[in-house]
Symmetry: C2
Subunit: 426 residues, 2 copies
Amino acid sequence: MAVRAGIIVTGTEVLTGRVSDRNGPWIAQRLRELGVDLAHTVVVGDRPADITTAMRFMAGEGLSVIVTSGGLGPTADDLTTATVAAFQGRALELDTELEQRIAAIVAPLLRRWPNIDREALAAGTRKQAQVPAGAAILEPVGTAPGVVVPPADGAGGPTVVVLPGPPRELQPMWQAAVATAELRDAIAGATVYEQRTLRLFGIPESEIAETLRRAQADGIDLAQLEITTCLKRGEVEVVTRYEPPAAAQYERFARFVGDRHAGVLFSPDGRTIDELVAATLTARSLTVAIAESCTGGLLAARLTELPGASTYFLGGVLTYSNEAKEDLAGVPAAVLAEHGAVSQETAVAMARGARANVKADIAISVTGIAGPGGGSENKPVGTVWFAVADGAGESTRKVLLPGGRADIRDRATTVAMHLLRERLAG
Amino acid sequence: MAVRAGIIVTGTEVLTGRVSDRNGPWIAQRLRELGVDLAHTVVVGDRPADITTAMRFMAGEGLSVIVTSGGLGPTADDLTTATVAAFQGRALELDTELEQRIAAIVAPLLRRWPNIDREALAAGTRKQAQVPAGAAILEPVGTAPGVVVPPADGAGGPTVVVLPGPPRELQPMWQAAVATAELRDAIAGATVYEQRTLRLFGIPESEIAETLRRAQADGIDLAQLEITTCLKRGEVEVVTRYEPPAAAQYERFARFVGDRHAGVLFSPDGRTIDELVAATLTARSLTVAIAESCTGGLLAARLTELPGASTYFLGGVLTYSNEAKEDLAGVPAAVLAEHGAVSQETAVAMARGARANVKADIAISVTGIAGPGGGSENKPVGTVWFAVADGAGESTRKVLLPGGRADIRDRATTVAMHLLRERLAG
C-alpha cells in the first residue's frame, strides 16, 4: 500500500532564505526508509494561517502523515503546536508534570546567565508545556517537547508529528515519534522498498540518460525500477528504489551500468567517495596529509568530517600566500618564480613538502584560482592543479572548473578526493 | 499593495533529501527585495501531477507569481516546462532558432567527450527548445532555457517563471526574468519594504523575547515592525521588515536593543561576523594565520570564503595529531605531556607557533574534542580551547559546545571568529 506523507517546515527565517533547512531532507530520508512516499515539502513562515493552509492542502491530497519542524520555542511567535491542535480539533492543555521536566532542563541557564529574566523563562516553560489533548508527547531533547497528534476521534485525516527546529533536537525525537502507537497506526501497511545507489565520476549526465535507454533496449524492465539520476558536487548519482520482487531486475541494471561505465563507476554500493577513501586509508593503515591553497582548508575539513578521522589524518599546511608555500611546504622560490603558484610543479612541490613535514604516507595538494579575481588568459579563474605524493612518486591533474568562487572551491575538493582514491587504488 | 508569490522547487533528488536546495532561499531573498511577499515554498518530485497540484494550490491561494526551479534538463524525466505550459493553457512549440543556439552551446561537449552519443545529444537539445507559445524566453546560461509564462489571454491567475536547477544558471537567469515585461506586469504595485538585521553573540534567544516585551512596554510600536528572531550558528539574528514610514520606530527599537545588549550586539548594521573580521583586517592591513586541530580546516575555509581573502589570510597549519602540533606549530612536547592536546597551554603554543611560522600579524588556534570518541570526564566531547596571539600577547577562551561532531566543529569556528574580532577590537 502506498502511504503518503507531507513535510511542513516552519519558520520565517527558513522561508525568507536566511537559514537553510536541514530538516526537510533528513525527514524525507527517514520516511523513505519506512516505505512512506513523500508527496510534498512545504516551507511556510511563522504565520499560523499559512501553516493551517499547508495542512489543509495536504489533508486534501489524502496524505496519511504530516511532519512539521520548527515553531516550538518559548517565544510568542512559535505557534506550531497550538495551530496543529486547532487543526486536529483538540484542545490545548497544560501538562504540569511536563512543565516541571522542562523547568529542570532550563535550570542550568540560570547558572550560566545569572542576570536572565526569571519570569520570562518561567512563562516560556509554561507555554512549551501546553500540549494537545490526546496527543503522544515526545520528551524534549533541548527544551521543547514534540507531539504526535492523531485526528480527532472518528474524524479521519492525517496524523501530525510536531517536531522542533534544531536538527540535533529533531533527529532523536523523530526516533521517539516512530515508536509511538499513534504514528505506527498512521503508517501501518506501507510498502517497504529497497533503495540502492551507484556513484560515477567523470561523465556528463546525458550519458546516463543514454545508458537507461540502452538498458531498456537490452531487455531490462526499467518500469519495475524507480530510477533518479542527478549531478551532485561533480559526481553523477543514480538512485534506484524498487519493491523487493524487482531485485533481479536491479542486479541486471547495476551490472549493465558497471559494464558500460567501467572505471567511471567508482561506487557500486552507494558508499561516498569520502567513505571509500576513509575505508582504504584505515584498511591499509596509511596516514595522509594535505597542502591547500585555493580550497583554504575545505579539503582537510572534508577529510576530517567522518568520526575516526584521527586514525588516518595527521595534519597539513595551508599555503595561501607564496611565502607560506615556501615556508610551510618547502616549495622552492625558483619553482614559484618560473612556473607560478598555479602549476604542476608547484602542486608537486606542495605535496612532497606536506608529506615530508607531516611525516605522512601520502599527501595531496591543491593550488588554483578560485576567483573572482586572479585569473589570466593562460590561467583563467577555475584553473586548479592537484598532486598526490607517496613513497613511489606523484600523480597530478589539472582541471578547469566552472562556476563561482564557492563552486570552484567545493568542486576542487571532489576532484582531490578522486585523485587520492585513484592513487590509493594503484 | 501586497503582491504574494510562491516557489516550487522540483526534483526527486531534492524532495528525497539527497540534494539540499539552494534555490528556494535565494529566490526568497530576491522576491523580498522586490517587495513581493513569499507565501510558500513547495518542494515536489519530478512527477508532473505533483507539480500541477502545487501550482493549483498556489493559484487557489491567489498568488500573483510562481517561480519554479529545476526540471529543464535534456532527459525525459525533466518535465517542468511542459507541465507549466499545460497549466497555463499554452501550447508547447519548437523554437528552431533557440534549438540552434542550444546546439552551439553543447557543441564543446563533443570535443570533451568524443565518444558521446550524438543522437541522444540532439534529441536533448530539441526537447529543451520546446517553449510555451507566448512565453518570454530566458537565454540559457548552461544549456537549458528558462521561460516566463503569463496566464492564457484573459484567464487571470499567476505568472509562472520557469528556471533551471543549477544555482549558477538560475541566478543570472532570474535577473533576466525580472527584466521581462511579463514578470514586471505581474508584480506591478508591490509595496517596497525596508529590511534591517541586528546580530548578537553570547545570549540565549529567550533574552531577545524579553527585550521585545520591554521595548513594547517602553512605548515602541512593534506592530509597525515585522520582527523575526532566530538562533543561527550560535548567534542570535534579529531581522526586521517594515514599510518606509515606520523607519523612526525601527531606529528606536534598534537603539533599545543596543542599550540593553551592549557588548553582545556585535553587528548593528547586519554585517556578518565574517564580514566584520574581513573588513577590520583589510582596513588595518593586518595578516592572519591559523592553527587548527578539531575543526580540521573549517576555520581557515571560513576565513578564505570571501573574495579578496588573500589580502589578509596567509596560511596556517592543521595539527590534528600531537606530532603535527610539535612539528608544524612548535608546541613543546612537555606542554602536550603535562596539559594535554586540549588545553589552554597547547592552544596558546599553537597560536604562537602559527604566528611565527607563517609570519602573520595575528594567529588563532582551535583545539578540542569534536567526538564522538575521545571525551573524558574532565574533558567531555565538546570541550574546545581557543587562543589568539598577536604582538602584544594572547587571549584565550574555553567553551563546552553542545551537539554532535558536525555541530561542534561548526560552532567552534563561530566562537573563533568572535574571539578574533574581540582581540582586533582591543
